[in-house]
């Protein structure tokens, strides 16, 4: 479970993300199940216009979005920082095929992380994206989510600029395991 010291109510930022994706006519939403994205995934699965597509591994989602674009639809890939490393070779499709790529990444391995196994990939997530030609934007608090999502979706879909939004662990809340 996730907990935040300064807020015990259900977060609204996933609703803001959903609204932005809806406005940009996003239709295919591949995801690997993830606690930070759980509310957004619920919204997607309940939506009549978006299709949530559960993956077995994140790189499937990169290839899926290439196919979606060829068929005339936009998509967004939802994943966690640990999944970014799984995508590296498949990210090469993005500059080659020049399709709109937007991914929303919930971060682990930072801001109060308790699990050292999450730290190596969480620490290199931004660098992996940048080396792969994907621009990185970050949202660290709920108030900035709408503006960051708007900017990311606009440059991804309108300017074909591959973009990752890192949703920081400070925003999501550090994972706590209670005994």
């Amino acid at each position: 479970m996730h907990a935040r010291a300064d807020d015990t109510t259900a977060p609204n930022w996933p609703d803001d993300i959903f609204a932005t994706l809806q406005r940009f006519d996003v239709r295919q939403v591949p995801y690997v199940p993830d606690a930070g994205h759980s509310k957004l995934i619920q919204r997607v699965l309940a939506s009549s216009t978006m299709r949530g597509i559960a993956l077995t591994t994140e790189e499937e989602g990169v290839a899926l979005l290439a196919g979606a674009w060829a068929g005339g639809q936009r998509g967004v890939l939802l994943m966690q920082s640990s999944g970014v490393g799984n995508c590296i070779n498949m990210l090469s499709l993005i500059p080659i095929l020049r399709f709109p790529f937007l991914t929303l990444v919930t971060m682990r391995g930072e801001w109060g992380e308790f699990n050292p196994w999450q730290v190596p990939m969480g620490s290199t997530t931004q660098g992996v994206f940048e080396l792969s030609g994907v621009q990185v934007l970050r949202a660290s608090d709920a108030a900035e989510v709408p503006a960051v999502l708007e900017a990311a979706a606009a440059q991804a879909y309108n300017a074909l600029t591959p973009t990752a939004v890192l949703l920081s662990q400070r925003l999501i809340g550090a994972k706590v395991f209670t005994k």
Partner: protein
């Protein structure tokens, strides 16, 4: 190397595409993409020169975006093994217009013919069926290839999967365009989508 009773890959692919009508076809990284080009370049051919393991998922994304169009993935056993999880994803989504053909020569032909997992242990038909793709066939005759080529056009009865045992002959390479942006925009244009 090649066994007498195995099918000729080029004959298989040209049979699959002979009466293609509105089919969008995706070739996997390796010889299957060359086979598609050898059957005749086509505005709706999606050739992969990289992104190994991604062919079936590109097919799924396209099939979901264009549910009225038959979408055909033609790939090799090595490429399919790398993206085997995508069979589980496709089994879950059940796109009724998606067909997948694996040209199975039990070897990595592009890299010197090293044996693949299908030569000894892995049964891709069993995997596809166990992942929820009910119409999963093992194909060993041209009559079965012809039947599958007809079935592809029924966009309400898929997804379907065929594993075709082909001989391991190394054929002359027929190389399609390797400009990915051109390839994908050519398909989009034919489907009626304007450039951004």
């Amino acid at each position: 190397m090649s066994k007498a009773n195995l099918l000729d890959r080029r004959q298989v692919v040209s049979t699959l595409l002979a009466n293609r009508k509105d089919v969008v076809a995706i070739g996997g990284l390796g010889a299957s993409t060359n086979d598609m080009c050898a059957a005749g370049d086509h505005v709706r051919n999606f050739y992969l020169w990289g992104g190994m393991g991604g062919a079936a998922m590109i097919g799924l994304g396209l099939a979901l975006a264009q549910p009225g169009l038959p979408v055909l993935v033609i790939t090799g056993d090595g490429e399919m093994l790398m993206g085997m999880g995508s069979l589980a994803t496709i089994g879950l989504q059940k796109p009724s217009n998606l067909s997948i053909v694996v040209l199975d020569n039990e070897a990595y032909g592009e890299t010197g013919g090293q044996t693949s997992h299908t030569s000894a242990a892995a049964d891709l038909v069993g995997v596809a069926r166990a992942c929820g793709i009910g119409d999963s066939r093992a194909v060993t005759t041209m009559a079965e290839v012809e039947a599958f080529a007809k079935a592809i056009h029924d966009v309400s009865a898929g997804p379907r999967f065929a594993n075709v045992k082909i001989d391991s002959a190394s054929l002359e390479r027929i190389l399609p365009s390797r400009d990915g942006t051109y390839i994908v925009n050519r398909i989009r244009g034919d489907l009626g989508f304007q450039p951004i």
